[in-house]
């Protein structure tokens, strides 16, 4: 049978999701090579630090919007049918402060209002002071500590081989295929590292530093604010992970900042803001009532022109890029990967039958 050898570089959410979807093709033989794998915590490995949740931010008409839209169904299905994937439904409440500009996320009429279930507007009378209105709907929260290993396990079931490797040039990847025959297609899911990987060297990727506090407290809700007063690059959000994953308190979005260590002052501000707007966290008490599991820093893999999903020939070999998803990796994963799959199929072609 004509088989296609594929190498995937990167074991973050996009690398693993790409692998999972591609591994369902009987004639694709896949090897994943990565510096970091699920279970690792490292500043170069963004995915484990994410919440993660589904809160679309793509403008209608953009690629991101399309991928976010196409991802919902699968996440929803996993919640309903595959509890071991570590995803659950969560009511989400977003408050729009009067002083903040509007965004996709805080719109009263966002494109995703019919994608998610039970979208509704909350009148200002029911919102904290200073908020014009709120929007509420049932979204999903992904326990990334469970989900990433689950993805990997599903890939293994489909015969995927995983290898640790540190690459300096993308062309070195193909030879690492477990079959001994070089892969004919390489999938580049290197996130922020796409900026320093030989053959790619994308100068437009940059980090969007996010700091979080993971606590044991369970507010039973996900939420976010349209803005904060503390700093322009600080934000407020809360998400309770599935299956005992704890609750993520965030955060910030500091562009071009590579600092890997948590800033204690920022941590305090985050905790204070979250407790203020989501008193369910501590039943009205202060931040001393938060039971901290750990503080964390993740670098969202951002890109000046947004995510990149396209095919390219590098030194004569086919590469399909899938990186630059910033803070939208999980919520656009399946949609992005559908495009990766389409690109791979376009490279492989169809087979005639005798």
């Amino acid at each position: 049978m004509a088989e296609t050898n594929i190498i995937v570089i990167g074991a973050g959410v996009l690398g693993l999701t790409s692998t999972l979807v591609l591994s369902k093709h009987a004639n694709f033989k896949i090897t994943v090579v990565a510096k970091h794998m699920p279970g690792d915590y490292d500043i170069e490995y963004a995915s484990p630090w994410a919440g993660a949740n589904y809160l679309p931010v793509g403008e209608p008409g953009t690629e991101l919007c399309r991928y976010e839209r196409d991802t919902w169904a699968e996440l929803d299905r996993l919640v309903k049918n595959v509890p071991e994937a570590g995803i659950h439904h969560q009511p989400t409440v977003l408050y729009k402060r009067a002083k903040d500009a509007s965004s996709v996320m805080s719109q009263k009429d966002p494109w995703f209002k019919n994608t998610v279930a039970d979208f509704r507007i909350i009148p200002s009378s029911e919102c904290p002071a200073g908020c014009e209105y709120g929007t509420a709907f049932t979204s999903v929260c992904i326990n990334t500590a469970i989900y990433l290993p689950w993805l990997l396990g599903q890939c293994v079931k489909n015969g995927v081989v995983f290898k640790r490797s540190i690459l300096s040039h993308i062309s070195d990847a193909a030879a690492l295929h477990h079959s001994g025959t070089p892969a004919s297609i390489t999938i580049n899911c290197t996130g922020l590292s796409a900026g320093k990987l030989g053959g790619v060297m994308d100068p437009t990727v940059f980090p969007g530093r996010g700091q979080i506090v993971l606590v044991r407290n369970e507010p039973g809700v996900m939420g976010g604010l349209s803005g904060t007063d503390d700093a322009a690059d600080e934000i407020t959000y809360v998400m309770q992970r599935a299956v005992g994953g704890g609750t993520i308190l965030g955060g910030c979005l500091q562009k071009d900042v590579w600092e890997s260590q948590p800033d204690p002052n920022l941590a305090v501000r985050i905790m204070k803001r979250c407790v203020e707007f989501y008193p369910e966290l501590t039943n009205g008490k202060g931040i001393e009532a938060l039971s901290v599991i750990r503080h964390g820093v993740g670098l969202r893999p951002m890109r000046r022109d947004g995510l990149r999903v396209e095919k390219e020939k590098i030194e004569g070999n086919w590469v399909v890029h899938c990186y630059g998803h910033a803070g939208q990796g999980y919520q656009s994963s399946y949609g992005s990967v559908a495009e990766v799959e389409r690109l791979v199929e376009s490279i492989v072609g169809e087979r005639a039958r005798l």
Partner: protein
């Protein structure tokens, strides 16, 4: 690929596992060396024409040091090489190059034990004209196919008695391997493949699994034993754990196929995407022909007139339901379903025919093609071997391959063996033009399977041009040949020529669904997605003709109590998953996933008429 084939799977301590792997790695080199050892003084000429000069050194080295294999282009780990050298030194057969070399001179009787495949004197069955033609062809045909395959092909075609013996001898050493005859990671391959019917899913225990296997092979049972499946799965999991430890040893090992586990759907993964497979043929629930007095004749008439294939299939289904022993009805049912782009029902029907009549040539050839399409290469080759043994029994000098022959479950060696047999059969005729066209077709399928498309094109072309009367080139079969030629051209990247061939097939048989499917595939490959969709929808529409009639009848029978979804299920036993999958991919390429979501069993083809003409 790091999967192991059939019985080569070994437990951790077996040094022969590395040995076999290495045999496969170095095959190309072996063949290169053996090129020069051809009959009658063409050595040098052959080698210089066909090979680079660098091979000479390796050849000499090999002959002078027969106990060692030189490093191949991809040297294995040192450990594996060491193992192999020890194995080689153990075998006394490896000494004395003169005797060994004499193997390959047709005028000299070599030691028979050395080379099971080449016994007895050879006739000068070598046609210089033919050689020149193929030699030229092969000089150019070295493209992207795996080195071993191309080498095998060249050797096989020009030198029927070449170093297949070498490879076989090596493989023979691998025969001593113990361990279970099981697959290492069976879920890797399309086991989800659909009901090949060889339900050999019975439990084997270590000691006498060979005997059990041989027994199973001969009884050819189709029934799945769920309990045995579970036991098998447990054992396979154990194997996986053991073998996972030696993954570093199996890099580069050639993958055998998993056809031994056909019909086994006990393992998940890929099977999740397809229906579970059963060995028995699944009949349509409502058959228009059930009350017709001679449905077989009806079916034949429909086929000959180029009528609707779904209708013909129904007629043949009725015929075998009336008389389950009617072999020809089974073979024609299989043929109709294959042409109707329904490979799994085709395979089930043909296997049924074979159960009733193990020497049925039509069924054997049809199955070989279907197995090839589904990726069951080794099974396809074994089936072709049986075909040849049935039609040319005098050429068979050794037992036929079966799952119990550990050494020959290696797909490549099997391929060489069977190709050699076909070449011998081809050489029985005094000149190329009088060659048995059926042998040509068999050779074409073999080359196609090894991705030696240039040669396969020649074979199918020769069959088409042949004036000899075989089964495959009868007037009412020519459309099949055109399609085979087209598929070979298509899969070697010659899409435009493929389209021409498909058009020829469709001119003969406008209702030839498979050719229409292939036409769609070629359109995809040249980027004409809308046109591809038209062809695929057209093919599906041909299926729908009968389904609509069947649906009306079914509705009559079941009344209004059953809803549409259930009704769909009842009348849609045999679907072409292939057509659905490919159509979905076309819509994906057109960025029309909304259309793709509408595709599937019970789909309403008519909905697409607003956007596509078909």
């Amino acid at each position: 690929m790091s999967f192991m084939g059939g019985a080569e799977c070994s437990t951790a301590g077996n040094p022969l596992s590395q040995f076999t792997k290495h045999v496969q790695d170095n095959k190309s080199l072996q063949r290169d060396r053996l090129v020069g050892r051809g009959p009658g003084g063409l050595q040098e000429g052959m080698r210089s024409q066909a090979m680079g000069g660098g091979q000479d050194n390796m050849m000499n080295e090999f002959l002078n040091h027969p106990s060692q294999l030189p490093q191949g282009p991809n040297p294995a780990s040192p450990f594996a090489m060491e193992q192999m050298r020890r194995e080689l030194e153990r075998t006394s057969q490896r000494t004395g190059s003169p005797a060994w070399a004499a193997e390959f001179d047709p005028g000299v009787q070599g030691p028979a034990a050395m080379d099971p495949g080449m016994q007895g004197p050879r006739s000068a069955g070598f046609n210089p004209a033919e050689f020149a033609k193929y030699e030229h062809m092969n000089a150019t045909a070295r493209a992207a196919s795996p080195s071993m395959a191309s080498q095998a092909g060249m050797m096989g075609y020009q030198r029927p008695m070449y170093g297949g013996g070498m490879g076989m001898g090596m493989g023979g050493m691998g025969m001593g391997m113990g361990g279970m005859g099981m697959m290492q990671q069976p879920y890797q391959q399309p086991i989800q493949a659909e009901g090949k019917g060889k339900g050999r899913m019975v439990e084997l225990d270590d000691k006498d699994w060979e005997a059990q296997f041989a027994q199973m092979e001969s009884t050819d049972t189709k029934d799945l034993d769920a309990e045995a499946n579970a036991a098998m799965e447990a054992e396979l999991n154990d194997m996986d754990r053991q073998l996972a430890d030696e993954e570093n040893f199996v890099d580069g090992m050639h993958m055998g196929d998993l056809d031994q586990w056909e019909g086994f759907d006990g393992l998940n993964t890929h099977s999740a995407m397809r229906d579970p497979q059963l060995g028995e043929y699944l009949f349509e629930n409502e058959n228009l022909f059930k009350d017709v007095s001679n449905p077989f004749q009806e079916g034949v008439r429909i086929m000959d007139e180029g009528g609707n294939l779904s209708l013909a299939a129904l007629a043949f289904e009725a015929a075998v339901q009336k008389d389950p022993q009617h072999v020809e009805a089974w073979t024609k049912l299989g043929a109709a379903q294959a042409q109707n782009e329904k490979e799994q029902p085709a395979i089930r029907a043909l296997e049924q025919a074979l159960q009733l009549d193990p020497s049925n040539l039509e069924a054997l050839m049809g199955l070989a093609v279907s197995y090839t399409n589904e990726g069951y290469d080794s099974t396809a080759y074994r089936t072709l071997e049986r075909w040849l043994a049935t039609k040319y029994p005098s050429l068979i000098k050794e037992p036929l391959s079966s799952g119990a022959d550990i050494g020959f479950t290696d797909r490549q060696m099997l391929h060489e063996k069977v190709t050699n047999l076909f070449i011998e059969a081809a050489q029985l005729s005094p000149s190329g033009e009088q060659m048995d066209p059926d042998v040509q077709v068999g050779l074409g399928v073999l080359f196609y399977g090894a991705e030696e498309y240039e040669k396969a094109v020649d074979c199918f072309g020769a069959a088409l041009a042949s004036t000899e009367s075989g089964t495959t080139n009868q007037q009412n079969q020519l459309h099949l040949l055109w399609n085979r030629l087209g598929a070979t051209l298509a899969n070697s990247g010659r899409s435009e020529e493929a389209i021409d061939a498909y058009e020829r097939a469709l001119a003969l048989r406008p209702n030839f669904v498979r050719a229409r499917y292939n036409l769609g595939v070629s359109c995809i490959n040249i980027g004409c997605f809308a046109e591809a969709a038209q062809h695929l929808l057209g093919a599906l529409a041909m299926h729908k003709v009968v389904e609509k009639e069947g649906r009306e009848r079914a509705r009559e029978v079941v009344g209004d109590a059953v809803n549409e979804v259930e009704l769909d299920r009842m009348i849609s036993q045999n679907q072409s998953t292939n057509l659905f999958d490919t159509l979905r991919r076309v819509f994906s390429q057109m960025q029309r996933r909304d259309l793709g979501d509408l595709v599937g069993p019970g789909m309403d083809v008519e909905r697409f008429r607003s956007e596509f003409e078909f």
